[in-house]
């Protein structure tokens, strides 16, 4: 796959196929992330459409100081926030509220495991197993509280660096880690419960 930087050069030269390639690459990820900011799919689609309009108009101003992906996500988040639709639903994240990584009932009063996690992998990596895991995660991501979902999507799904995520969301590194911790912990718990069913 062609590097983003090369696509940008072609796009800045007015190459339509570069734009088509960019849309192919990032429309899905942008839409997925937008859903963690706005209340409906329809609004998310409008926001992403707006992002592409911004790209068409603003690609000349892209200087490559951030990655293209980060630039696109930042535009998306700004557009999503300016729709105003969010304001009614946005609830502040309580970072001090206790949300244990693992339910306290799993531990003894002394803090040792009473019901430890059952091993997931038996020896060699099982490819079918790994595929099932990905399928479940895809579904569980949508159940995460929005603040956690935003961070997990950008960090673990899209592979952005912590500093990039902090800049896009305008949050501190410490808060970013709390949200990441809660999101990852929740996903693991959901996967564990899913495995317990079979």
């Amino acid at each position: 796959m062609e590097a983003d930087a090369e696509l940008v050069v072609r796009l800045q030269a007015g190459d339509e196929t570069a734009f088509a390639e960019l849309v192919e690459r990032y429309h899905g990820p942008l839409l997925r992330l937008a859903r963690a900011f706005v209340p409906s799919r329809a609004v998310a689609e409008e926001v992403v459409q707006d992002v592409w309009l911004g790209v068409v108009r603003g690609i000349e101003r892209f200087e490559g100081r951030s990655s293209l992906k980060t630039w696109l996500f930042r535009i998306m988040v700004n557009r999503a926030r300016s729709t105003g639709v969010r304001e009614h639903r946005e609830t502040p994240v309580d970072l001090t509220a206790a949300e244990p990584a693992v339910a306290s009932g799993r531990f003894t009063s002394g803090g040792q495991w009473a019901r430890p996690p059952a091993p997931w992998a038996d020896g060699a990596e099982d490819r079918i197993e790994a595929k099932a895991l990905v399928g479940h995660i895809a579904a569980f991501l949508g159940t995460l509280p929005e603040a956690q979902r935003r961070v997990v999507l950008m960090r673990d799904v899209e592979g952005l660096a912590p500093a990039e995520v902090c800049a896009i969301l305008d949050i501190t590194e410490a808060n970013q880690r709390v949200l990441l911790h809660r999101g990852r912990s929740r996903l693991r718990c959901l996967l564990e419960a899913e495995r317990g069913k079979s």
């Binding site: 429309h27 997925r32 306290s104 495991w113 430890p116 895991l133 799904v157 990852r184 912990s185 693991r188």
Partner: protein
């Protein structure tokens, strides 16, 4: 702060709360060392860490929804109109 109760030992319930800071390289050296000692002697917390790592790896393999051809055509049309000004 988490270690004030026991200076040397780390209980499992606290260990699992440190996993993200550990993976992010955000623990102080002493705390990191204590967690690593715990992980070396506690198979359950070691398994927990392995599961968190598997969770992260699986998240990195989740594909986004494929682009519908009509959406692509619409967006390329938008680009074309802008180019033609």
């Amino acid at each position: 702060m988490l270690f004030r109760r026991r200076r040397r030992d780390l209980v499992c319930q606290l260990a699992v709360e440190l996993i993200t800071d550990y993976l992010e390289g955000a623990l102080l050296p002493d705390d990191r060392a204590r967690l690593e000692v715990h992980l070396a002697v506690c198979p359950h917390c070691a398994e927990y860490l392995a599961q968190i790592r598997a969770t992260i790896a699986a998240a990195g393999s989740v594909d986004a929804e494929a682009l519908a051809p009509d959406v692509r055509d619409e967006l390329v049309g938008l680009y074309r109109r802008w180019q033609q000004g």
